[in-house]
Each structure stands twice: as structure tokens, then as C-alpha cells.
Amino acid sequence: MIWQVEFIILFLVIICGIAALWVKDLLSAAILFGAYSFMMCILWAVMGAVDVAFTEASVGAGVSTIFFVAAVFRTSRRTKD
Amino acid sequence: MRIRENNVEQSDAFDETGNRQFQRIKQTAPAFILTFVIAIATWIVLSGKFDMFHMTLGVMSCLIVSFFSHNLLFYNTDIRRLPSAWLRFLYFFPWLIYQVFVANIHVMYLVFHPHMMDLIDPRIIQFKSRLKHPMSHFIFANSITLTPGTVTVHVSLLGNYSVHAIDTLSGEALPGDMEEKISRILDE
């Protein structure tokens, strides 16, 4: 475990999470949510949970972002909050 | 769950006669084998285990991959000419690395320059390339992106390039030297 890295990443994770919810555009939100997943992946790698990190890398970075984009593509990007 | 397909139905391999199927196998066999070889090589790098169990799994996996995507990796390609093309590509590669390195130094210079805004003068330039093969287009476009001050914006089918250049200097060099080298790789 590398607590220094982890500390920074934890901070970034929170920022990413807030940003993904704060941003007023759903596609951006989906992209930022992808970034959130990246951060989570690092976090788990740092904590030694390699399998979880692997899963998150494959799911969060790849599939779930694509799902989000596909959903936004089929609906709309507009959001009021 | 009987789904009525609205798509234009394709005549599948089923209604083809055995002879044509044989022809098809004959056509695809080299690509299949080559894909299989490449896959095995990659597998060995990835796996690092040489016991029976894992090698069996490897062969099975490689067969699956080659079955699924032999017509992806080698698409519209004359396989007999490939080895020489690869050799020439290896010859081209160090030059590319060098160009990339130069490009990076250039961008680094721009990035850290205090008056960066004065130095840059972005513009989109367009030119026509004489390359034909998709592969060479691909290599050319990616090389443009990696080399000094230019990013490929669009490549049309007929070889019309539009390129975003960060300053006038980097834009002028195109298509230039690189196109020559790439056309030589694929022997066009």
C-alpha cells in the first residue's frame, strides 16, 4: 500500500464524482464518470485489490462508459442540473 | 422471441454450394494461418507459461481468435507481399521514432515557452496524397499525428487530407518525405 498516492487519488476521486454530477451536460457527465472509474481503478490497484482493479478497468473504463454514451446518444444530452 | 429482421437479409454461407465453400476456405486459409501464427506469438508473450495445460488453452484461444477475426487483420491484403512490407516497416520505424521525438521536443518547447501564444499560428491545411492502400493511409495519417506540429483531421477515401498544423512551419513540410517512405513500405 502506498498511502501517499492513495491520499491524492482519494481526493481526485471525490472531485471527479462531484464534477460528474455537477456538469451540465450528460455526455460530459458520462465522460467524467469514466474518469471517476479510472481513479477508482488506480485506487484499488494501490490498495492491492488487483482483481477488483482489473474488473473496474474493464467495466468502468470500457463498457460502462460506452453504455452511458450509447444511452445519451439515444436520448438527449440536455440536463438542467 | 422470434424477431423479424427488417435488415436486408444476407445470403449466408449456408446456401452456397460445397465447391464455393471450398474456394472460400482456400482464399481465407493463408490469412487464417497467419493470424494464428501472430496470435500464438502474442500468446507466448502474454502467457509466459509453457506447460501443457496452458499451451492447449493458448492454441484453443488462438484458434478462436483466428476464426473470429482472420478477415479483420488481413483485409484486402495480398499476403505474399506482407513479409517484405514488414521488413521495410522495421526500417521505417526508427525514423518515425526520431520524428516523434523531434515533434515532442517541439511541442515541449511551445508548451513551456512564456509567450506561447505568439509562436503558434494554428491553421488547417489540405493536400492530396497519392497513396492508395488503406493500410498506408492509416500509417501515414497516424504518423502525421505523431510528428511535428500536425494532427490529421480527416482522410477521405480518395486521399484528400486535411491536417491541423500548430504553426506554419510544420504545415509546410507535408506531404513531403514521409509519404515517400510510406509508399515505399507497401511498395506502391
Partner: protein, 95 residues
């Protein structure tokens, strides 16, 4: 050498903040996409570095490899959105 890797990884994660700025405040979606793509490439390096710090790099390389591949897919998917829907901002009436 371990300490060196450790500090590099800390540095790398700190550098990520800069890319994150672009990802969060980028005026357009595509700027965000650039930022996220940059974060992705840094993450790939960071994963291998963490592996080195743990002395188990052979385990972490797989993740990094998967990461490099899937990051590409995500970015491609997001940019693909614009190839079908024109306009930087939302276009009403598409289903």
C-alpha cells in the same frame, strides 16, 4: 530504486490533477475528452509503477494492458457520438 518509483508515482498522480482540471472545466465536451484521455495514459503508467512498488509488476501489467486497450474504446465511443450527431450542444428531437 523503490523510493524513486514511489516518488514518481506520487508525482504522476499529482500531475493528473492538471489533466483533471481540463476534464472538469474544459469548455466543450471534447476538451473534457482530451483531459480524460490524458488521464487514461497517465493511469496506464501509474499502474505499472504501482506494480513495481509492490514488486509484483507481472500482476499489474495485465491491468495496464487492459486499461490501454479499453481507454481507447471509451474515447472512440464518446467521439463517435459527434460523428452521428452534429452540433456541440444538444440537438432536440432525436430518438
Amino acid at each position: 530504486m523503490d523510493a524513486f518509483f514511489l516518488y514518481s508515482s506520487i508525482y504522476l498522480s499529482a500531475v493528473m490533477v492538471l489533466s483533471l482540471y481540463r476534464a472538469i472545466f474544459g469548455p466543450t465536451v471534447l476538451d473534457r475528452l482530451i483531459g480524460v484521455n490524458a488521464i487514461g495514459s497517465k493511469t496506464t503508467a501509474l499502474l505499472v509503477l504501482i506494480g513495481l512498488v509492490y514488486h509484483r509488476v507481472d500482476m499489474f501489467v495485465d491491468i495496464a494492458l487492459a486499461y490501454a486497450m479499453l481507454n481507447f474504446i471509451a474515447v472512440l465511443g464518446a467521439s463517435r457520438y459527434f460523428q452521428k450527431i452534429k452540433g456541440l450542444y444538444d440537438e432536440p428531437g432525436r430518438r
